[in-house]
Each structure stands twice: as C-alpha cells, then as structure tokens.
Amino acid sequence: MNISEKEIDHLAELSNLSLEKDEKKALEKDLQNIFKYISKLNELDTENVEPTYQVFEMENVWRKDEILPQDADREALLALSKEQEDNQIKVPKVL
C-alpha cells in the first residue's frame, strides 16, 4: 500500500501533530513498511469469526453511592498546569 504525502498530512492533522518536512519524509517511508508488514493479515481467513476487543471477564460490581476521598485535591491538580488564574487553567487565545 502506498501512502501519499497528502495522507501523511491528513494523519498528522488527525493526530494533532505538526511535522517538519524531513520528518514527514521519514514517517512516509516508515508507515509504508509497517503497512506492508501488517497487510500479511489479509492471508488469514476470518470468515464468520467474531471480533475480540478486550480479554477482561466483565462482571458487574456494585458499590454504595457515596463520595469517597480523592487522592489529589483541586489545588494540587491545578498546580500541575503551567499557568493559572482565578482557580482556573490559563491557555492562549482560542480565536
């Protein structure tokens, strides 16, 4: 499968990445090789096979509807961000 530069741009956008020209070229080659390998899967007959998305034995667990103590309070979590103002996280202009 061929991956065009346009597709790399689209994937970068979906991935929220801004890529330099050199990096784009390198990723184009890498992704091409990776897709070549994973297309091996087409050899496998999966007719009438159900998909598996998780291997956890799901089972409902009940608990009381009560507020439990949290490991980190509001102040500690806010303090992790680079800029705060009036008890909120500050970000650059949106528009």
């Binding site: 990445l17 990723l27 990776i34 291997v55 979590l77 650059p92």
Partner: protein
Amino acid sequence: MKVANKSTSAVSLVKSALEKIEKYKDKNIFTFINQENALKKAEEIDKKIRNGEQVGRLAGVPYALKDNFLSTEGETTASAKILTGLNSPINSTCAEKLEKEGAIMVARTNLDAFAHGSSTENSFFGPTKNAYDDSRVAGGSSGGSAVAVALDCVEFATGTDTGGSIRQPASFNGVFGIKPTYGTISRYGVVAMASSTDVVGFFSKSASDLDLLMSIASGRDSKDQTSLPDFYGTSDFSLEKKKIGLIKEFVESPALNPEIKSAFDEKVSLFKSKGYEIVELSLPALEYALAAYYIIQPAEVASNLSRYDGIRYAYRTKNLKDESSPEKSPLDLLFSNTRSEGFMRENKRRIMIGNFVLSSGFYDAYFLKAAKARTLIIKEFEKAFEKVDAILSPVAPNPAFKLGEKVDDPVSMYLEDVMSVPVNLAGLPAVAFPAGFTSENNKDYKTPVPLGLQLIGPRRSDKNLIALAGEIV
C-alpha cells in the same frame, strides 16, 4: 531477597543499593534517584525493628520503579519529554502495596518513551545499556528495570508488559520476569499504553521472590475497573496433566537463533527427566499475532495518548507560531507543537498508524480484521491448554542485539516481539526465566550475553508458571 531485621539494617540495604546505582551510572539505567527519601524511610523501619514493632514482608528492601508508574517522589516522565516536569500528586496502587510491606523505592528506571519499543533506545534520556555488554541493548521497554535487577542494584523492580516489555528485557539480561494474567495487579497510577493488553508485573532474581511479590501486589482495586479479585493468594501449585507443550511454529522457525534453540532443547530434556510429558502443538494463527498486535496496539495508543496536550500538566511548548499554517489559532498551535516537540519519533509512528486503522474507510480492513484474528489466537491457546498445563517457548528469536542496529527500521524492531505478543493479545500469564548464556566461542557475541525462555499458561495459572520456572532454573 534480603529483608531488614535485627542483624541487617534497612539503612545498610538502602546504602548498598545507592552505591551500586552510582557504580553503574554509565549504563544509564535510572531517570531519578530517591536518595534522601529512601534513607529517611530506611531509618524509620530500623527504628520500628529496634522498638520490636511489626514490620512488613518487604521491610527495608530497596526496589526500582519503572518510570511510567506515577509517584509523588520526584518527577514521573515515562522517559518522554512531554511528561517532563510532572510532579504527580498520586502514587500507583502497586507501589503503595509494596511500600506498605516496607519496600523502599530507591530509584526510577528508564524505558522507551511511553513504553513504545523493544530496546529502551526510544527514551528521551538516551538508551540503557545491556547488563553484560555495553555495545548491546537492554531490551525493552522495561530495559532499566531489567538491568537494575541484573546488576544487583536493587532486589526487584516493577515493569509493564503490553507486548513483551517485561519478558524480553528479562531474557536479554538474565533475570526472572512475570507478565501476569490480564487484570491481576491494579494499573491505577500507571501511564496507559494499550489498555486491552497492558499489565503490571515484576523483575526479580528468583522464582520465590516473584511469588512473594505477586502475593503482595495482586487483587481487586476499586480504582481500576479491570482489576480481578485476588486469585493468586488463594491458588496452589497444582498441575493436572504434568504435560508441557511446545509450539512447533516457534521452535522450527528459521528466524530462531541456534543458541536459543539449544537452550530450549536443554530445558525440554530437563522437563522430561523430571517426569513431564512433552507435547508438540501447532498454533498456526500465531503467525498473524504480530500483524494484529501492530494494528490493535497503535489504535489504543492513539486514543490513550490523545490526552497529552500541554494544558493541564507537564511540558508545554513556547512556540505559538507556524508560518505554514496561518489559519491555526494560538491554542491549536499549543496542542500540536507541544505534541510534536514532546513525543519521540516512535510515539508519532504509533499514533499515526492508530489513527489510520481507526479512520473511516479503513476500520473494517484493519482494526476489525485484527480483532477477529485476536479471537482465533485466543481459541488456539484455549485448545492447547486442554492438552497441556503450560507451554515452553523462547521469549524472542534473538539474544540482545547491538545498540543502533534496529532503531531506524521499525519493522525489524517489531519482529523482536513476535514470540511475546500472542500472550498479551490473549491476556495470558507468562514467566520469563534465565537459561544460560551465548557460548564463549560464538563470534557474533564476543562478550557472552544471557539467553531467556518463557512459560505460558492458561488464565490464572500464574502460580504454576512461577513454580515450574523455579523447578527448572
């Protein structure tokens, strides 16, 4: 392992660990050294012992924490630039359980950023070197943890195993490593990679140490919905069939290094001499496990890593300009520039593959196809375990490779996981154990390096696997 008591002080155990950490500085094993806190904790334990107070089963035991476990002691980075500066306000449940028993975290270990890799070369802090040969890789992603235990810096270390990240570095450095049944140990406070296969496990120097650590760390945690009620503590060593399987497709693979093959044959003979019957199995769908894994895992990685945007914590870019995209707002640029500067190349590859296989038009051909392949792999293992108690297998096709050898060729790096990922896709337990070294006269390995094998079992057979590994090492 050595535990503090009336004749051995916790302070002396911690000091000796810190000395070895210093001694092997050039191996680049650690991302953070917890000197001050560790000594303070050791003094408290010694005081308790002097006063005749009760201390835990791991009293004063120095251990290392893989740097993708959140910790209030020092920064938690997962060896990724995008997490530098993160001083976590919480601790992982796993580390809390260990510390409750008196274990002392002396250092945190290097990994491939976000555990993406099989060599620890994809770390923002540079590669960790193999315990036996500085020109070779530590394996990965838990390379730092494996080398820390192999060089006796610590008694044990934590790890995570999404596709082989505990077993492969364990085998590259000659130590024990367990990848437990999916859900055995809480993942609360561990940086998520691929949620349907991620597990927490350990590195140790003996099977009995693994047993102790598993009995301490296992169990349901209300903070992790995928954690299982404790089965480990209540299970006994019991084999119904006394039969060990081998996977024909792995053992006969032309890609399998002859040194690993002969270590494997030796263990087969040892099992026979102990009265076990050896059963040859064919699991043809396993050939497709790696391809399925490199669809499912990046898909989950893309989702899990979408949360890193520079807003709420850790690294944030200062560059809010991009001449080539004048339409982007400063906020958009903050997201995309933070991510571009903060992720390693391998992180970007996986995020982009993941977004590709999940995007409309490709979902059925890739993600759905891989999820169906996963079902076939699970069924083949289930059938195999109707015949045998456990499967003996190589961990990886080759011993530790050279630094730089595969780092620019992602597919050849991924192929190192070909014998470890099927276990993760099926959620099974596996124990890697040391099986000798490459021979002195092997020209490819001038400095002999360790060889490792693994035992794979049905779900919840973790205790059997540890006991079996102990029997044949």
